[in-house]
Symmetry: C2
Subunit: 363 residues, 2 copies
């Protein structure tokens, strides 16, 4: 890594997944990073993982990042503002309006506070899951509207850019409505759907496939964190859920009487609306770069996949992505290889020339 | 492949994804497979892809597999029963009760018909997406309750086993309720959720992450096929959706007034119910076998991943699964490697001994 934009100490309060990942990322750029946690065990673990050093009495942080659970965030921000009366303080909580309201109610000097929210995470929490590259290419909202000045914005942008994330300026209200739509309401819907599975027999559930697993994956998320998020962003979430509710009412009525004229059209409009909604989502690779994929059959024996990739490497072709599908009981796996479109044809020729079986080629 | 169980000709009517995939799988076992389609273009394509040969006047199929869209299925079954008055006929439609009702209403001799349904598919349709291994390890329901005899069941089981799928005997009603729960209602919910995205700004949608992409992935499915499925299985789907509706009502009321005593508990119960529902889903590898995973950092250069896998192969360790996460703009990728738990420790030692950086190790 090539140095940092941040020019000063950064103090991170809260050594969970986000705090530790920020620490790892900053340290890899040589930033003097201090990590603090109310749990000595969590703190020791984060320090062992390289997320930062322990605090000392001489610390003079330029920036403090509060990365504690949402319901503690305002209180900890207030404490940090008081303890370091020159430092800029930000936080990483998923809800911005409520945190600011709570902070104001403590009587704290909010002129040095500017909230933010990195749109990044993993299903697993804690320092043990932290990764310095967690934020690369992800949006990171800076929540404006609290009388912030250019200098404060600049320091938080430096933090975000040092972690290779994309700074986005947005009011706290716009942020909260946006995450209600793209994150909080989907969490509720996924949980509701998964909850229906409690009523199914084991025989029924054995028919489940990848579609159901994908659409309920986030229903496995940590309830403790999500209770706090949903409670803190309740009204924007309700607004989205009421839209789901209206559409659900309507499709239930339609499906109850499919003999009625217009029922096929009503179902079609629901499904087409879903198609159109999905197509509005940004692509997997952020900038929507399209890769070419092909699927190669690989014998299920040690070293076979390595031989495949050695031969790809020998041809000077770099993989952009790779997935191995390993069907249980099958004699081979399927390696789905993504490469830049301009090398796809050469890759196919190289592989077929070496006797590999390509199951399918498509863009 | 080592020969087939099926002992006779198989005629496949409908050269789409499922029909062509069945054809590819059977031919790889040496079965004399005939493919037929009302569209000459689709038929030629399927034959070019190796899904079967064209029909001839001398054909004497033992088994006919009807793989046409659901709303045509009963009519085509009736035609095939009449045209080949000795053959056993099955179909692969996603709904079983309605097909049988419609078939009976044609006055066809249903004693040679036994419906079935492979729980397999892809987002892409057509012969061009067909794969002979599409059914490997997937459940394939044989819908009982139509006075079928052992011999008919045996022939369809042979088909299923030749395709390396898992035959499951289930009444048509149980089948339809099961797929309503694990497939059809989730399709509706995913479409409903995706449809809400139409109301969001582009700035809001840019905050979307993998969770939303996963939970709305199936909302990109083909509306034409799904209109037919939902209309044909409407009442079982309504039953599941009414459960979602009740839970949605309740969580909206709770979130409207989070100050009320008990509201945190109500949110917690929803989320915990979602957790419990997801945990009932069978694992990715069917038999719920747990693999150990570890994440290795791989420089983003041609040949580096190959070197990693060569070294794993040289250690005699077989990969069960592999995913490469390639963060855009990053200098390295993360290879998540799954192996049998008993070799995990040895793998870690081998890799670290060779200088690889392991980002995380967990079970």
């Amino acid at each position: 890594m090539n140095g940092s934009r941040i020019d000063g100490q950064v103090r991170i309060v809260g050594a969970g997944l986000l705090g530790s990942s920020i620490g790892l990322g900053l340290r890899s750029r040589g930033v003097d990073t201090i990590v603090e946690d109310s749990s000595p065990t969590a703190l020791d673990l984060a320090i062992d993982y390289g997320a930062g050093r322990a605090a000392s009495a001489e610390d003079k942080p330029l920036l403090i990042v509060v990365a504690v659970p949402p319901d503690l965030t305002a209180r900890v921000i207030a404490e940090e503002l008081e303890r370091f009366p020159y430092a800029i303080v930000t936080d990483v909580a998923s809800v911005k309006t409520r945190v600011l309201e709570e902070l104001r109610s403590t009587g704290a000097d909010t002129s040095r506070y500017l909230g933010s929210h990195p749109l990044a995470g993993r299903e697993r929490g804690g320092a043990i899951s932290a990764r310095g590259d967690l934020f690369i290419g992800r949006p990171w909202v800076i929540a404006t509207g609290n009388g912030e000045n250019k200098k404060m914005i600049g320091i938080i942008e430096d933090l975000i850019l040092d972690l290779e994330a994309l700074p986005i300026l947005m009011s706290a209200g716009e942020h909260d409505r946006s995450v209600a739509l793209v994150s909080h309401a989907p969490q509720v819907v996924s949980s509701l759907l998964a909850r229906q599975l409690l009523g199914g027999s084991e025989r029924s559930l054995n028919l489940a496939g990848q579609g159901l697993r994908d659409s309920t994956r986030i229903a496995a998320s940590d309830p403790e964190l999500w209770i706090q998020i949903l409670a803190a962003n309740n009204l924007p979430v309700v607004e989205v859920l009421e839209g789901v509710h209206r559409d659900l009412d309507s499709i239930i009525q339609t499906l109850k009487d499919t003999g009625k004229p217009g029922s096929r059209r009503a179902i079609a409009e629901l499904l087409a609306g879903g198609n159109a909604g999905v197509s509005r989502l940004p692509g997997k690779h952020g900038q929507d770069r399209k890769f070419s994929s092909l699927v190669v059959m690989v014998d299920d024996q040690p070293g076979e996949l390595a031989r495949l990739l050695t031969e790809i490497g020998a041809a000077g072709i770099n993989l952009e992505d790779l997935r191995l599908e390993h069907a249980s009981g099958a004699l081979f796996g399927l390696a789905e290889i993504s490469v830049l479109p301009e090398v796809e044809q050469r890759l196919i020729e190289e592989l077929e020339g070496r006797g590999w079986r390509i199951a399918e080629a498509y863009r």
